[in-house]
Structures are given as C-alpha cells and as structure tokens.
C-alpha cells in the first residue's frame, strides 16, 4: 500500500513546528507501510553552501567519518549527526571534492541527497522508530514530505526507502508501482543520469529531475510524466521552493489534501491530516486524476 504525506507551510510562524507536524502525520500512516520510513525536510540553508546528507552504517561510524571530512576537504564544514546520518554543509566549491571523498568510501558511507536547504533521513523499521531515531519532531522548516513503505517492487532495505532524491534539493515519494520503469531508466541512463537502486520510484524522481534540467518547471515536468510514465502512482514532490502532487489518470492510489491560509497538506488518507492544527477549518478535497497540483514559495 505505502503511505505518503506532505506539508507545505504558508504561514512562517508554523515553521518551528514542521517536524512535529510531519512526524505525527507519518506515524498515523504506519498501517499503510511498516517496512521503512523516510522524510525530506526543507529547512535552514543558503545558496552558497551545499548540504550533503550522508548515511553511514551506524551512529558510531557516522561520528568517525564526520570527524574525518573537514580535514580531508581542508575547508570549514558544518557537520550535524542524527543517528547514522550526517548532514555536512560546505562551500559550493568543495562539493566535487566531497563527492569524491564519499565515493572513495563506498561501502562505509552513502550519499542520500544534495541540496542547499533539503535534508533526507530514512531507515527500515516502523515509522515511529524512524521518527524518534532522527528526532524529526524537533526539526524546523518550510516544507517536507514523508513516506511509509510497504515493499512491493524491491527489497526491504534502506536503499528501497523513500524519499528519493536525484537532483539538488529535489525529492519524490511515491505510492504505487510503475510498469515501464526499466525502459525509462535505460533512456535516462543514455541521457547521462545514474541511479543508485533498482527501485521504480527512483526512476520517477530521475525522470522529473531530467525534465527540470531541460528547463521544465516542476508543474511541466509532472505534466509530461503523465505521457511517459506508465503504472499506478500518486507522487508528492518537493523542490527548494515548491511542492506538488500528481495522481495517475485512473487514480488507483488514494489521496486527500487540505488547504488553508496556514498550509497545504497531503495524506494518503484523511487520518494523516486529522492530526494537523485547525484542520477542521481547512478545505479538504480529493485531488483529481491526471491533474498536477503545485505550490511555490516566492
């Protein structure tokens, strides 16, 4: 089944509570996906520094590697550690060297995401466990998306956990299954993209990144995905300042949204929205099939 959630805040006063709201939404969706969970949070950052989210084997390994990184790069690096994830914020001109450093430690550490504002945390296990492991409730931010996974297309591993990020500050969560992901993957690889997993959802994320690299807006990239991606899907997508939702033309997978002056929220089921403040005053609606819903912050 899988459960997906998303929250895009319009009211800046709510930003300190983003993590708390997203955590509650995610835990509510446990019944839809107890195999793994993950979140992407768009929080503090600036465009001159790149944030790499890295995943180590365990918290101890993360701490050791986090100590190594600044010396290896020879530049000031701000490092924060949450369980086995490291977020390293570094000057943009050190990004290539940092990626090389990660590549050289394949097996010890993996790159989860690259961005200026986005951080991604994911792990196998119940959403409740994942949320507390990363202290998600304490995170602040402007928007975020999350996923609870019931594995269908690939194994129960951290690599199969969502969100998938294939471009800077871009990420996607997916409920459903794509039927033509292998052929789309081959096309994208020919276009120069690379994929870390065999997961169909990573292909969807990669497809959108590819379209946006060609100049499409978030909304245009999702509109063209209706032509090119085949299968069942509800996508929730985040970019640095955007948030979008798309369902397949026969709306196989459930989706419900709420919009108020304070926020736009997405849930696979209403239960996930029921935990939000003043939800009774929001406009609650079911997104139409094959219709792109997108919001952007100025």
């Amino acid at each position: 089944m899988c459960g997906i959630v998303g929250l895009f805040l319009k009211n800046k006063a709510l930003e300190p509570a983003l993590g708390d709201m997203l955590s509650k939404m995610l835990v509510t969706m446990t019944a839809r996906g107890p195999d793994s969970a993950g979140v992407a949070v768009y929080g503090a950052g600036n465009n001159d520094r790149v944030k790499l989210t890295l995943r180590a084997e365990d918290a101890g390994a993360a701490a050791a590697l986090a100590n190594e990184l600044p010396a290896a790069l020879g530049v000031p690096v701000d490092v924060s550690i949450r369980a086995n994830h490291i977020v390293a914020s570094l000057p943009r001109d050190a990004e290539a060297a940092a990626l090389q450093w990660v590549k050289a430690r394949a097996g010890q550490i993996q790159l989860v995401s690259v961005g200026t504002h986005m951080e991604i945390y994911k792990d196998v296990g119940l959403p409740e466990h994942v949320v507390s492991e990363f202290a998600l409730a304490g995170m602040a931010g402007s928007h975020g998306i999350g996923h609870t996974r019931m594995a269908t297309e690939s194994a129960v591993t951290i690599n199969g956990a969502h969100p998938f990020s294939t471009g800077e500050d871009q990420c996607l969560v997916h409920n459903g299954s794509l039927s033509n992901h292998n052929s789309i993957r081959r096309t994208l690889v020919r276009e120069g993209m690379s994929f870390a997993t065999q997961n169909d959802s990573e292909v969807a994320a990669g497809y959108l990144t590819w379209r946006m690299s060609k100049g499409d807006s978030l909304k245009q990239s999702l509109t063209s995905s209706l032509e090119d991606l085949d299968g069942f899907f509800t996508f929730v997508v985040g970019t640095r300042n955007g948030f979008a939702v798309l369902r397949d033309p026969i709306a196989c997978k459930p989706a419900i949204m709420a919009e108020s002056d304070d926020y736009v929220a997405f849930g696979s089921e209403y239960r996930a929205l029921s935990v939000l403040p003043a939800i009774e005053k929001a406009r609650v609606f079911e997104p139409e099939p094959a219709t792109v819903y997108a919001w952007e912050r100025s």
Partner: protein, 229 residues
Amino acid sequence: MPVCDLAVSSVRELNQALHRLTPDTNETAWEIDNPQGKHAIGVGINVPVEIDIKGHVGYYCAGMNKFASVRIHGNAGTGVAENMMSGTVHVMGDASQSAGATGCGGLLIIDGDASARCGISMKGIDILVKGSIGSMSAFMAQAGNLVVLGNAGEALGDSIYEATIFVRGEVKSLGADCIEKPMTEADRERLAGLLGRAGLDGAAKVDDFRMYGSARELYHFHVDNAASY
C-alpha cells in the same frame, strides 16, 4: 442518547456496541464524536437507529448497513455504504472512490462530489449525488438508480446491466454498452420520487436530467462484440 467519543473508545468497541442492539432498542439515536478519518465506523449495523458522525470518516463507513440512518457530517473515504442492504447513509461532504459499491438496497445521499467508481457493481441501492461523480461510475451496475446533479466522468456505466443512471450535468463519455435512453413517464416518476426522498423536491427539475442504461448488446457473448468487452 449514547455518545461515543472515538478519541477515547476504539472503533471495535463502538461497532460491538452497535451490533449488540436489538430491533426493539430504546437507544435509537447515537452520536459519534472525533471520527478523525478512522476506518470501518458503523459497519454491519442491523437495527433501525439514527447515527450522527461528527466529522470526516475513513474507509468503508456504514458498510453493509441494514435499517439504520447514518449521517456523516464531513467527508467519507473509500467505499462508504459499501454493500448497503437498506436504510440511509447521508454524506454531507465529499465521498471518495467506490461509494455505495455493490449496494443491494437503501439510499445513499452525497451532498458534495463522489470520486471514481461511484456505484460500481450496484445491485439495487439508490445513490443520489448532489455534486459530480468521477470516472468509471456505475461500472457493471446491475440494479438500482444513480442520480447525479452535477457532471459524470469518463466511461460512465461501462458494462452496465439493469441499473439506471440519471445525470443533470455533462457526461464526459459513456462506457461500453451504456447508452442514453428516452425517459418514460414511469422513469420520470421514479426520478421525482428519488429527488423527493433526498429532500430535493422542487430544487431539481426532472426535465433537466438525461437517462442512461444498458444497450443490452453485451449480455451474451457474441464474437462480433469481442472488441467491446
């Protein structure tokens, strides 16, 4: 009046309490608070009681209902009033997919919109939607009436049997073997009766509706129709 607060009680406790009621119960008016989108609220009621659910409900609310009148003061998730036998279910907001699916009797009223596959495989239920309905509605519908004051999505009435569909707005497309039919006086009376039962006397004119049903070409396999199945 029994009041059940689902922030405190479980859905299972509520449903067990409802199942324990006998037809001569004096506890005929129930209020259910804080449904918060929970699933299977009020499923399998078998007695003539009135139930007000104060908020949005999840999947399969009031499924298999018999005799009861259930009012949902909010939106309903997938499969509201699924396989209803008799009684009334009234959704005051929108309904998600498969509203009234396989319903055998009773009346389902939806004040807002219903999503895809409304009335799929309906078998005698009457469904009245004041808003619009999504695609593939009344797919393989066998008996009963689906009345829509708004518009209908793609493939309305695909592979329909003897159910009847009345739509006041636009129909995006008709499904296989579903055709528009002229309304007889009996059909007009039936529609007027349904509008009256839903409290819409005078609010919607029978003449504004168009009627759809089965062309009966696909009842028996015929090789010339193979492409239509």
